[in-house]
Amino acid sequence: MSNVLVFVQQSEGKISKVTKCSITAATEIKTQIKTQGGAPKIIGACFGPGASAAADEALTFGFDQVYFSEAPELKNYLSVPYSEALLTAASEGGCSIVVSPATTTGKDLMPRVAVGLEAGQASDIIGVNSDGTFKRPMYAGDVIGDVEILTPNKVITVRGTAFAPAEGSGAKGSKSELTVSFNKELMGEFVSYETSASERPELSDAEVIVSGGRALKSSETFMQMMAPLADVFGAAIGASRAAVDSGYAPNDWQVGQTGKVVAPSLYIAVGISGAIQHLAGMKDSKVIVAINKDPEAPIFEIADYGLVADLFEALPQLVEEVKKAKG
């Protein structure tokens, strides 16, 4: 049996965008297996409060079957019970390939699933090759490797920005509730969750991102300058590692190799010099704008439109001009 299982990440019954991108990757993997003579089914699994509703939504993306569980042990994400649930789904569904979005949850969870299946794991893939290998970035994106998983069972995490989100059509499969036996001894305890959510879109979902660097000078001026720009575009706000390290912006706004990897339609880098680590997180954006005082800043080399200017003068003017342009 070589069916493909997708870990469907959901919140309150809604499937995340990066999951939809992972479904596209899973469909490509299905095609890859077909060319090698297999006929796999695509199976989904979603857990936690709202999983039943999420399973209904998942079915519209063409899954042959979707397993769900709203067991109390799965109320909050914890690596041990979630890996047990996913392994149970893999076993019930006869799946030898498990695909997950490379979110912090997917990154945390999937190696445990890989051990359960004695599978090799390709992390953060950006492409599915017809010869059975996968493309993935290494060395902060300075290298793209073709990686083969040598084991019969395979685990794959997907970089959402590299795949278009799947489009829903009519449902054909069915959902079924999964019974999981949990090792409560090992489970661990969820203590608290502190959200940094705002009215603005999520970084990973945003069409436009405005990102600030250390040149913003302080947390007060960071928000004073960046918030109006974000508002005029309906954009998410990102930050460079330097800005986060200096305490100008919260940790999970960081864009880069070790933060979020984003690829919006428009990325405006303000006062960001363009270290390799930052470029690794945003260079696949469709249009990149850089505003920086230093004409030699490396960010200009990859920016579609560079403006050498003092951001404290340029930004208020930019907000006004965009307002005018938008009418």
């Binding site: 994400y77 690596s79 979110t103 912090t104 949850t105 945390d108 190696p111 445990r112 890989a114 051990v115 090799g120 794991q121 992390s123 953060d124 290998t133 970035p137 290494m138 060395y139 902060a140 994106g141 300075d142 290298v143 793209i144 490797g145 073709d146 083969e148 040598l150 084991t151 090992l186 489970m187 661990g188 305890e189 203590v191 969750y193 940094s196 999520e202 436009v208 590692r241 986060v244 940790n251 999970d252 070790t258 339609s265 428009l266 390799i276 260079k283 249009v287 990149i288 704008v289 080399e301 920016a303 579609d304 439109y305 560079g306 050498v308 930019l318 001009e321 005018k324 342009a325 938008k326």
Partner: protein
Amino acid sequence: MKILVPIKRVPDYEAKIKVKADGSGVETQDIKWIVNPFDEIAVEEALKLKEAGQATEVIVVSIGPEDTTQQLRYTMAMGADSGVLVKTDEYVDSDLASRILVEVFKKGGYGLIIMGKQAIDSDASQTPQLIAARLKVGQACFASKVALEGDSVTVTREVDGGLETIKIKCPCVVSTDLRLNQPRYASLPGIMKAKKKPLEELTLESLGVEAKTKLKVHKMVPPKSRQGGKKVDSVVALVAALKNEAKVI
């Protein structure tokens, strides 16, 4: 409690990485090697726990060629008590690393493993979780705060959209994120002392680990370069270009 800190030797993060012409790997000739920055944070955290009287001993371990002793000595100069080198010249993937580190862990009676959340060369972010799963213990990845209380550890994790706090029992594996701490520099007396600290050498054979990877990297290529570099001379020109040319306004 004894703490095991696995560290990886990686190319300096400021080095420009070049792919070999035949795509078989990256050029390593003129590379400056460093301790993976996330692992340095892990060493610092272990040392802090020791200084707070919550840990008795900090042991660093690495897998790699003979030269890797330099990175082990560096972390011993930071303050780690002793080091272990599992010597191999071969490619080690996350899975093989996890199987080696599990055997090292089993030899020592450790209460905690702290290590970086990812190595900045392979960027896989798998080994800590693989170790935890193989040992059938809990894991707390991407830590920005670690508090040891009795036989459990409370960890604040950097997750998408915020911070999550969980509590797990020791022994367990903690992986470190960027802002857990600011690693100290090795002092001169520390460097002198480190030369005399014990450094044990092991091999895959002596640990009984089969030298087999689950991944094979077939070909490496540089990423497609981006055509940028165009400058506009005013905010008005920028907005006009975004509206009329790029059509994103």
